[in-house]
Every structure is written in structure tokens, then in C-alpha cells.
Symmetry: C2
Subunit: 155 residues, 2 copies
DNA sequence: TTTGTTGCAAAACGTTTGCAGCCTC
DNA sequence: GAGGCTGCAAACGTTTTGCAACAAA
């Protein structure tokens, strides 16, 4: 059985990145990466920091430092939803998805759409090498539609 | 000449919104709206505040307050690019555009694409009434591609 | 007259930074 | 052994808040 182009694990990719950029391979960094890849869905720096306290204790500063490295290594993705602190999620193993954001309650849901994906993938830039994208569709969720209707009726 | 469905001006729409939501029609709010609609492209709260000092003086708190109202009234759009303070832009009269963001230098450019636009417009949600969207394509701009190449070569 | 809005300054918040000691290389 | 990395706490910059005075309704 041939093994050409076996997919590299997040850890292997991170090691690769650290070596290439002449950064040190500290236990803190690997502990954070592992924790992140055990999380499904979004998380923020603070929440990750709290989670870490249970097993491998690291400072919040190191969490931020490592998140920056992982971002640069394209192992995680960062989202900045309105009033909230920055949200992160793993970049590997998760399906490519978009986000719908309720402008009233802030609720965020994920969705996928083949046509949208293809249209964006097909886009060619003259002076720009694109790597990934974030699409946020804003609107009002079902729950909040009711509330809004009341306001408009009461005018 | 018939005049059915004459397009309402930002000011008219704002008045409408304020009345509907039982908010007061203060001169500060209209001054801010007017200033915003005189700006082409992005701006942040601080920059808007500075600009206002020249004609109608308002406090920074009022700027933030009014930006929130205009956001809710869908008269402006808000963007949260990475390290930067929140960026705003008028929602009416501007062409629907997307943003490409260089992950190295942070440079942001606008672009339009009919197919992407149509694909997103066509998307139907089961429990969500969409109103607008933001698409951020991340990658590396030409200038920064050179720098990166150097790093990877030097490894 | 009532009460939402303003300006001001202080506080809050997420994130970054400076520095001494530590640990990878 | 040298220099990058860590933890800690203090600093930072943006945004929010509390409050007294003001003004729209």
C-alpha cells in the first residue's frame, strides 16, 4: 500500500511551522494546540485559558501568543463578531462553513452552501493570493422576528 | 409623471426609524448622519468624532450612541477587521462590495463579483430572514508575497 | 413636565507589553 | 551558554457606563 501524500496532523504541521520560522517547540505551545483540537466549534482566548487550567497550566499571555502563531500557521481561524471577544476555531478537519448572525440577539449559526463556496473559490485576484475566506450573513432569527413585529405594530 | 415609490433619503429613513422606535430627533444625531454620508469609504468612531469637531461639536459617547442607532436602522454597516478599531461605512448609495484582507500587512481592498453576489442572494434560510452580508477573503498581497518568499527560502 | 439624551470623566473590557527568571536549542 | 519563551502584573486603546444638566416631546 502506497503512502504518498499522507495528510499531516496538526501537531506535525505546527512542528514544521515552528522549525521553518525558527521558533522554539515548547510544551506550552503543544498543550494549547492539543486542547484547541479537542474543542468543537468556537472558543475565545479566555475560555481556552480556563480550559487549560485543568491539565497543563499556562498563562493568558502565552495563550494569546500561541493563538497568534497558530493563526499564522493557518491551523486556526479567527472571527470578530460584533460586541464579543475574538472567536477562534480549528482550521483542519472542520467542514468549510459560513456564519449567519442575528443582528438582534447575536446568535450565530453555521451553514454550508456549495454554490457560494464555488463562486468564491473561482474568484481570481490580480495582485492577491487568497487562502481562505469568512462569510457573515446578517439578519434576524425566528425568535427575534416576533419581537420586532411587536415593536413595529405598537408604533 | 408618477412618483410611486420615490427612494427615501438617509435623513428621511432615520426620522422614520426614530419615530418608530420612540427615540428623540436631536440635532446631534442628524449632524452625525450627515457627516457620515459625506464620507466615502471606511471610518472609525474616533475619526468621525474628530471630523465632527469642525462643524457640529458632539461628544465621543454620542458618536458611539448614534452609530448604534444607525446600525440598527440599517443606514450604516460595521466591520471588525483584526487588530483595528471597528470600521463603519454608509449602507445606502454605495455599491455592494466585498473585502480582501492581507494577513501579513492588514491592507484591505474592496472588490465586487457578480457571481458571488448572486450565489449569496439566492441562499434561502429556513429560520432566518437575511438582510445583508460581509465577505472577507484573506490572503497575501503582492508586496507581502515577496517578503514571505524570502523567509521560506532562508529557512 | 417628563424622561430620553447629552457631555464629561471614570470604568470596563479584551488584548498587549515590559521584565525577570526559565528552558530550548 | 545564549537568547527565545514564560508568567505575572501593569499598561494600553477602544468602547461602555454613571451621573448631573439639558432639551425634545
Amino acid at each position: 500500500m502506497k503512502e504518498e501524500s499522507a495528510p499531516l496532523s496538526p501537531t506535525e504541521l505546527f512542528t514544521d511551522y515552528l522549525i521553518r520560522h525558527k521558533h522554539r517547540k515548547t510544551p506550552e505551545r503543544y498543550a494549547i494546540l492539543e486542547k484547541i483540537y479537542s474543542i468543537d466549534g468556537h472558543f475565545n482566548a479566555e475560555a481556552l485559558y480556563e480550559l487549560m487550567q485543568n491539565d497543563y497550566r499556562v498563562s493568558l499571555a502565552t495563550v494569546y501568543n500561541t493563538l497568534d502563531l497558530l493563526l499564522d500557521a493557518a491551523l486556526i481561524v479567527k472571527h470578530q463578531f460584533d460586541g464579543q471577544p475574538a472567536q477562534y476555531e480549528k482550521a483542519l478537519g472542520a467542514s468549510m462553513h459560513n456564519h449567519s448572525v442575528c443582528t438582534v440577539c447575536g446568535r450565530i449559526k453555521e451553514f454550508t452552501d456549495k454554490k457560494i463556496f464555488q463562486a468564491i473559490q473561482a474568484k481570481e485576484f490580480a495582485n492577491f493570493k487568497s487562502s481562505h475566506y469568512s462569510l457573515y450573513v446578517y439578519g434576524v432569527c425566528k425568535k427575534c422576528q416576533k419581537k420586532k413585529k411587536q415593536i413595529n405594530t405598537n408604533l
